[in-house]
Symmetry: C2
Subunit: 250 residues, 2 copies
DNA sequence: CGCTTGATTGATTTGAGTCAATCCCAGTGG
DNA sequence: CCACTGGGATTGACTCAAATCAATCAAGCG
């Protein structure tokens, strides 16, 4: 009975509009005015809840639209025939995924939850229609696509040119930044993903991830306990990646 | 005098419309009808010619629009402070680059010619305007963005999970496919890029590229002479990458 | 409380990088 | 016409960062 109550409350709580969503500043609606938001709102498929380790889509599934994470976390990845996963991205609350389906209306990669997760769907056909009359939405979509692309490019630089140490430091800083943006502590957080997934994202072996976490800890840079991360010396982390990105600025 | 004549002829020859461009099937105009093409045509800045090894843009340059290669070749890349380049993509005639500027109207990477190169510019502001009234163009732009994203994802898989052998085989097949699409031989072509750039794209050392080319040659898979590549046994190449991509198909 | 799955740790191997010479051609100039 | 030169490409010798292999270890969980 108690369980049922919770279920009902949960459903109610989630019947929210973009306007009232605490994540809307991070999500697609960013920059839209109230009226525009209202129109967009009508088309959005409201949160679905999934347990952890559930596949949302896989290659060749029909592309229905963009997905926005509300809670939990999602990984997108490609696989080799031999089973290894290359993680393309981790998607935290307020972030959008599923753009890989844009090329030919079929998804090209896998998307799987990493923990209990809820998400919205922004159906593409409607979004496309709305773009006709809402320049701001059009720009927002392009901004989003450009952002994804630049994230991928940074990821390419990481995989192609950085050492294992640099990769892990870059990864921790990226997660830290994203927690901060959501209003959480940038120095103390729970990783939503497994060591295996971190390894898959960084293009290194799980054992290496373990060893590096240990090494970082021994240097007093972080404190790691399973998935709990506490960053002790963020400057040291920044130092480690100082040579990694050249944005053209001095 | 002769030189001037050539100059005039060149200018004339290049004052072509998208409609008459032999590359339009590969480029942004693909799928547009004659009328739509005509409108788009008016906004396109016609070919500029550059020598080889000339920078087209760099990080923080203002984003003006998409670039379409007409002849020659362009590389886009990020750099580490220590100088190493991670090549993000090679752009051959009929292909579009410069999308990295979409996020915030500033370019995020470098773009440099790899040989004598001519290209068109599709100004973004106009393109955006046109998208309002031309659903087909809108779709074409999204298709293009989705395609770029999926290319980047394949590149991530390559850098994160493939051996040096697999990387080079994948690279050769990719170039081969793209020559074929332009109507050239898929088994005999001149590489537009240096060994250094190949290494930068594949995330390996130049020396390794050299050694692998030699090894491929000794196995009778290819014949390499400087930049001239002749693929002898394309099946063997395909075999080498058989385990690399799992598209979900059996 | 055993069982399973993920994480850690240690021992060993290896693919690819680094360092250091050449080599070879395209372009230059005598 | 040919010698010279400089930068890319190749080749060889050696090194090393990270992978692999092989045990544990720890923690959820039915």
């Amino acid at each position: 009975m108690q369980k049922l109550m919770n279920q009902v409350q949960l459903t109610k709580q989630l019947k929210v509009s973009c306007e009232s969503c605490s994540l809307s500043d991070l999500c697609l609606p960013r920059g839209l005015n109230a009226k525009e938001l209202d129109v967009l709102d009508d088309y959005i498929e409201r949160p679905r809840n999934l347990a952890h380790n559930v596949q949302i889509y896989q290659p060749n599934d029909k592309f229905v639209g963009f997905y926005a994470v509300r809670s939990g976390g999602v990984k997108t990845y490609l696989t080799k025939k031999t089973g290894e996963q290359q993680i393309l991205g981790f998607h935290l609350p307020g972030e959008v995924f599923g753009l890989d389906g844009l090329e030919n209306s079929k998804q090209r990669c896998y998307a799987t939850t990493m923990e209990n997760t809820s998400y919205c769907i922004l159906p593409y056909d409607q979004l496309d229609q709305l773009c006709e009359d809402m320049p701001e939405l059009r720009h927002q979509v392009c901004h989003l696509l450009g952002h994804e692309m630049n994230c991928d490019h940074a990821h390419l630089l990481l995989l192609g040119q950085q050492t294992a140490h640099e990769r892990l430091a870059t990864f921790l800083l990226s997660i830290s930044t994203r927690f901060k943006r959501r209003g959480f502590s940038p120095v103390s957080f729970m990783l939503p993903m497994s060591r295996h997934d971190i390894a898959g994202y960084l293009g290194i072996a799980v054992e290496t991830v373990s060893r590096l976490f240990k090494s970082f800890q021994e240097k007093g840079i972080v404190k790691i306990n399973r998935k709990q991360v506490d960053i002790i010396d963020i400057d040291k982390l920044n130092e480690m990646v100082a040579n990694c990105e050249d944005s053209g600025q001095p």
